[in-house]
């Protein structure tokens, strides 16, 4: 939480190393948890769906932040790791009949293994090149799941899972789903806070700040880089699994490259190298993207993203090629749509996301 060390003097090592050394931080965190638990009393079902989507996003974002923000390794494959978790959870539930609270760690574990595998290139390459390598991971995983019917459950790559239950309690409304998602989000948050102040977390930060120096002081770079990938992918896997139980369906089209880039955008906006940043990111970006006013603004082409907008303009007809009068698009309700031509102008959201991706790649190299 937001507070400063001022006038608080620790007299024991335990006090100094506590998760929240400051009393104010402790109370505000406790207050936040109480508010979160009581939130359903104040919100309608639509607002609850927003809360659920935000919490789901924040789990994934915290995971990615451990990798990108704390360990300094760029990943464009986060969506694919979520996909692995999602399908694992669906298969575990459908084939083995296991409940969702087994499916979540199972999804996380399989995603962690896959993530660690795709993290191997990080030993040799950095920055932009690592981003490209993880991008390859995104496509390889997507293709594999899409084409092996053993995993994807058939030509449509879609697996339905039954309504999750907890001790005979059917999780079938937005309110109930909230209490499936919230505990996981809290555990994810606290675990990340604990991780980054531990020996492992300090090693991550050392690798991020200067890997050569880290190696000199005895940090096993290979191990910690892979561990960062594994932990981050575990979070992604849990988020993906939770997404599956939330929607009662696993479908690979929910975790494409756009998802990966979205998550990068979230943690950059929320704050790299901060667990709360991941949380803030999930909450903030989801909320902004979902806001009806933002929708309207985007439709009118007056979104906040305006300065970043790229457009593919121009007429793609060949010389002398006829153009049907009724096909000229000058009168489309969306301003900026080119007058006649083949390519659609780049969607604003995609443009923002790609700008963000370029930004992080530049920073990383």
């Amino acid at each position: 939480m937001i507070n400063r060390e001022c006038g608080v003097y620790q007299t024991t090592y335990e006090g100094d190393m506590a998760l929240y050394p400051l009393p104010l931080a402790r109370y505000s965190t406790l207050g936040a948890v109480v508010i979160l638990v009581l939130l359903p009393l104040a919100l309608d079902s639509h607002a609850m769906s927003l809360a659920n989507l935000m919490l789901l996003a924040s789990i994934g974002a915290i995971g990615l932040n451990i990798l990108v923000g704390y360990t300094g390794q760029v990943s464009l494959g986060h969506g694919a790791f979520m996909m692995v978790g999602s399908y694992t959870a669906a298969l575990v539930t459908l084939r083995l009949g296991l409940p969702f609270w087994v499916g979540l760690p199972a999804g996380g574990a399989v995603a962690a293994l896959v993530g660690a595998f795709f993290g191997i290139p990080s030993l040799r390459i950095k920055g932009l090149y690592l981003a490209i390598a993880t991008l390859a991971g995104q496509f390889i995983i997507e293709w594999t799941i899409n084409h092996s019917t053993w995993i994807s459950g058939g030509v449509q790559s879609t697996i339905y899972v039954p309504t999750p239950t907890f001790l005979g309690w059917e999780i079938n409304s937005e309110y109930r789903r909230y209490f499936m998602v919230l505990p996981v989000a809290i555990v994810a948050y606290v675990a990340a806070l604990n991780l980054v102040r531990s020996r492992v977390g300090r090693a991550f930060i050392a690798v991020r700040d200067r890997d050569v120096a880290a190696e000199i002081i005895g940090v096993d770079i290979f191990r910690y880089k892979l561990l960062a990938f594994a932990v981050s992918s575990f979070y992604a896997g849990v988020a993906g699994a939770l997404w599956t139980y939330y929607l009662k369906i696993a479908n690979y089209e929910h975790f494409t490259l756009a998802t990966s880039v979205s998550y990068l955008a979230m943690i950059i906006i929320g704050g790299l190298g901060s667990v709360l940043g991941g949380q803030r990111a999930g909450l903030g970006l989801r909320r902004r993207l979902h806001h009806p006013a933002a929708d309207r603004a985007r439709v009118r082409g007056r979104g906040r993203s305006r300065p970043l907008r790229l457009q593919v303009r121009g007429d793609r007809r060949l010389p002398g090629e006829p153009q049907a009068d009724h096909l000229r698009r000058a009168d489309h309700p969306v301003p900026g749509h080119r007058a006649g031509g083949a390519l659609p102008d780049v969607g604003q959201r995609e443009t923002v996301l790609s700008s963000v991706a370029v930004f992080i790649l530049r920073r990383a190299t």
Binding site: S157, H254, D295, P322, H332, V334, R349
Partner: protein, 409 residues
């Protein structure tokens, strides 16, 4: 004086309405849907969505559904799943009795919610061929030829145009779940008719298919090509097949390769003869489109936008027409207040509904949520799509057998 006259008139009307209103008890019936006027596939969205809203505006101008106004809420989702889910939850909270689900991944994501909430969702053109079976999917209504029916109709068209045993047919498809959906029917028909069939996958984003086209035209030497591509891919395919010298009138495209934007991308002169399927009629010379142009635009002194009558706009009109007809039958047969369950029964009571020739003769039953699976073949001639067949369908037995088998699992 003039103002006073107006005021009197308005007051009189208000008084009259005030007195009569309780007796008539006019309800506002809420429906909703998603749209993508932004995002990757906005080329489609900017035409399909006004089609729906214009049709609803027309219905309301003509007094609503049996005297009850329709309130249609359009929510932008930019073809993203999370915003689609949120949009559905918003519509549900606001009391929508039926929704349009927009986009294949979003349809998949929302299917369990429709079943839980007992709110019917229509998904024309977006899939789930297996949801044709209303017994297994009571609240999902594809309401237009699914990819399986399109595959059946495409093969029927090819047969009607002279394909004999041993004819070489290439099926080129977009390599994602929606793109692969037609394969089982194509394979079954080819086996039944003794065609030589080969499948050619185009990986997303589908802008590079030179090798596949050379394979089809030079090595396999296909007699017919059945294409199932999306986005930019149809335009690229037209260019590539033209370059390889393949006759365009031997290329039959599924519905998402048959819009004006697809042809525009390749150039109308390049695409002459190209054949595409439609599940609703297209063009301006149709009673319902003429009525929209008159009542929604000209009567209000507005200029008719150029996209009115285009392929995607017509599909939007179909969405609106089906929603309206389902609600009309729900009110007529089951009375007020309208609920999701009554609209489901309303949809299932649709019989020979063709909107003055705009739609195929749609008959929806509890067993068949597709409405018959009709399509019509159109061909590029000049700078427009011209119908070259009546409403057709083919290999209905194979399609229905597959639906049955898919839902047995």
């Amino acid at each position: 004086m003039k103002v006073r006259g107006w005021l009197t008139a308005v007051l009189t009307i208000a008084l009259g309405v005030g007195l009569v209103a309780p007796a008539m008890a006019s309800h506002v019936i809420k429906i909703g849907g998603q749209c993508d006027r932004t995002g990757a596939t906005k080329v489609v969205g900017v035409e399909i969505c006004p089609g729906l809203t214009d049709y609803v505006a027309l219905v309301n101008k003509k007094g609503g559904v049996l005297g009850h106004k329709l309130e249609y809420t359009e929510i932008e989702h930019g073809y993203t799943v999370d915003r689609g889910v949120e949009a559905y939850e918003r519509l549900k909270r606001d009391g929508a009795v039926a929704t349009l689900d927009y986009g294949t991944p979003i349809v998949y994501a929302l299917t369990p919610r429709h079943m839980d909430d007992k709110i019917p969702g229509i998904t024309p053109g977006f899939g789930r061929a297996d949801s044709t079976d209303g017994g297994a999917w009571p609240y999902i209504f594809p309401m237009a030829a699914t990819y399986w029916s399109q595959a059946g109709a495409g093969m029927q068209f090819i047969k009607d145009n002279g394909a004999k045993k041993g004819a070489k047919i290439a099926h080129i498809y977009y390599d994602n779940p929606a793109g692969r959906e037609g394969i089982p029917i194509v394979e079954a028909v080819a086996k039944k008719e003794g065609y030589q069939l080969r499948l050619f996958a185009v990986p997303p984003p589908g802008v590079e298919m030179g090798p596949q086209v050379i394979d089809i035209t030079r090595r396999f030497k296909a007699d017919w090509v059945l294409g199932h591509l999306f986005g930019q891919a149809p335009a690229v395919s037209i260019k590539e097949f033209k370059r390889a010298g393949f006759p365009m009138n031997r290329f039959v495209s599924f519905v998402w390769g048959a819009g004006e934007a697809n042809i525009e991308g390749a150039g109308w002169d390049v695409a002459q003869g190209y054949i595409g399927m439609q599940y609703s009629s297209t063009g301006r010379d149709l009673p319902v489109i003429r009525e929209i142009m008159q009542k929604v635009y000209k009567d209000d002194g507005k200029e008719v936008p150029k996209y009115v009558g285009s392929v995607y706009y017509s599909r939007g009109v179909l969405n609106g027409a089906i929603l309206t007809e389902g609600i009309r039958l729900a009110v007529q047969n089951h009375g007020l207040p309208v609920t999701g369950d009554k609209v489901r029964l309303g949809f299932e009571a649709i019989k020979n509904f063709d909107l003055q020739g705009f739609l195929p003769p749609m008959t929806v039953t509890a067993k068949d949520h597709e409405g018959g699976g009709w399509v019509r073949m159109y061909q590029v001639k000049g700078t427009e799509w011209v119908a070259i067949t009546d409403w057709i369908r083919g290999y209905r037995d194979e399609v229905m057998a597959l639906v049955k088998q898919a839902n047995k699992k």
